[in-house]
Symmetry: C2
Amino acid sequence: MADEKPNGSGAPGGPPAGDRLTYEDSGVDYDRIDPLKVLAQRAARATGANLERAGAHTGVREVAASRGESAYVVDIGDAYLASITECLGTKALVADAMREVQAESGVSRVSGPPVSKALGRTWYDHIAQDTIATAVNDLVTVGARPLSIHAYWAAGSSDWFDDTERMNDLVDGWKAACNVLGVAWGGGETPCLTGVVEEGAIDLAASCVGIIRPKSRLTLGEDLAAGDAIVLLESSGIHANGLTLARKLSERLPAGYATVMPGGRKYGEALLDPTVLYPPVTEAAFEAGIGLRYIANITGHGWRKIMRHPGPFTYRITEVPPVPEVLQFMVEETRQTAEEAYGSLNMGAGFALFVRPEDGDAAVACAEAQGIRAWVAGVVEDGPRQVVMEPLGVTLSGESLALRD
Amino acid sequence: MADEKPNGSGAPGGPPAGDRLTYEDSGVDYDRIDPLKVLAQRAARATGANLERAGAHTGVREVAASRGESAYVVDIGDAYLASITECLGTKALVADAMREVQAESGVSRVSGPPVSKALGRTWYDHIAQDTIATAVNDLVTVGARPLSIHAYWAAGSSDWFDDTERMNDLVDGWKAACNVLGVAWGGGETPCLTGVVEEGAIDLAASCVGIIRPKSRLTLGEDLAAGDAIVLLESSGIHANGLTLARKLSERLPAGYATVMPGGRKYGEALLDPTVLYPPVTEAAFEAGIGLRYIANITGHGWRKIMRHPGPFTYRITEVPPVPEVLQFMVEETRQTAEEAYGSLNMGAGFALFVRPEDGDAAVACAEAQGIRAWVAGVVEDGPRQVVMEPLGVTLSGESLALRD
């Protein structure tokens, strides 16, 4: 609950305001949500002492340094446990809308054969993977290996369950992602919450438990140092952040989600490319003995997440990965500045590894062995907390990322 | 996701159908939801092998016998981990409605002073406890000690967050319940899901991780035997199951939630008595060396949950705890038979411990030392799987509880 607020994005000298559409315009008002986050963070922090009190006879205590990081860590003696709950957000609404758009034959699926039907494919196998990715990609940033996942699928009405194809896709996609990750799908909740969830809609979330063993795998950033290499891992597209903006944009495109982008793909279809699952890369990196100093999942604040670590470091980016067409399209259509775009979307880099200076190439090799492109994209320097994107001539300031109360 | 379907409740010789309102009438159609549950359970079970495959070099494996139980269990070597995700359901709608009813001064709070305001108290401290209780009361049935809780609070619109008193109550109640339980509030998600969650509403859920150490605490029922004592623990009221029925009933009461029951309390106020937190009882029982053979949380199927264990046992109930006024009121107003009522509501017993024959009284003492009334209410017998409620002359058949695929 620490990380959803983009604090301002002022764009002096940016494009004219006419057709622009920024993250702030897209409808979610973080200034109103933040007080609850702060209240909850403070109250939650105070409960950490509960474990220490009880720990005298059970050998458990919280790892207080994990508060403010992407997963919560408890020391159970010979290992650490990490846990997290994350939700998909509003991406299911895109899948529902795209189902109305006649799908082209031969669209790739997470599992099973290509589908071509009058109603179009459901895309729920893709958003199942997205939902799991939101949880596990955060969980592994503290060095955890994911063990089990619980599903939380809350529908707004009983008739949600009448669509057998959609249910099958959701289940198949969820299972397929668990198999890729080597985790157990432990169970879940599938309530029908009429009056709470909108009729016809579904609220998808996942919780995940992981283990950090040996304990030396714990990655909270205390060793991050000037000179460390910044390795960026490719994203597949928008992942699960920025969807409110993407939906707003679809409303003003004449053909909506069916709009064909310059490369020939439909906008809505490209939005639904499933989020990359990064845990196989972190597992491979730990097994290869790569010195992981810090790990950041690039989600809700775009590249501002590169400076997620609280220390006084400047992150100098010298190589910028290619931008997925769907993000390039969104940025152009909404007339965002580079600062706005990189400050709110992943722009082609969905995950960042911060490694010992000599381990950059090995980290890239680990990712590419898992089929995920990666780049030694920059270096950590002593200096004011900011991300300097040299090829773009843009700097994201530390004040624009307030993750910790 | 194993346990929300009440399979039929036929009431031959019951009251006339005119003003009756049964669980089946109340709107949630489990026959439509069940196919997804079955699909998900099968797919989830198949992923258990993922841990065993990876376990060769990490020492983890699933405890397959926990599938179908109330929490999922993973063996990590020197301990077991248990995990769960549960949601509140629709009880927040009752809190929202009751806020419109002028609260009487002096209503007890989980924390803080009594409140008396024009708008009425928010009750969100109570439903915070309910949400946590749904998760932890399930988690401890496998013998786990709860360690950490994540909050999932998904609002339908940014203006949900404008009500400072309600936010404070939610946070305070959540924290207070964590303190009672001795668990750490690890974090959570507070998304705004416009278009998914209804405007003005909030979807409340909790995930919980627990540890089972020593491993001998694992309680999956393999030792349950004829002669074991059934100890029932009091409920505080409706808890978090049966709220859809309760809401339907309020619609046809002339004064709705403001209806004053014979004892003088408002119907809606009594519905919002927070769910009992049972983990302090199970902790005390383990510490006291009581032989816990099986544990059942009495939730969605009422007393049918007493026969949650899959074995060929008859559960003979010889003492029936007093029924909380709000449940008695509901049963009378909806003209339910005893079979329907005990088959869907907790009717005064929110939790069941199955203990060695000689440990019944000690288990009762453990509960009462935690301020929770308890009764040695019956005995486990060899026989067809059913619950025989002798004082009521009613039997709940095993076929009416299908929790396992």
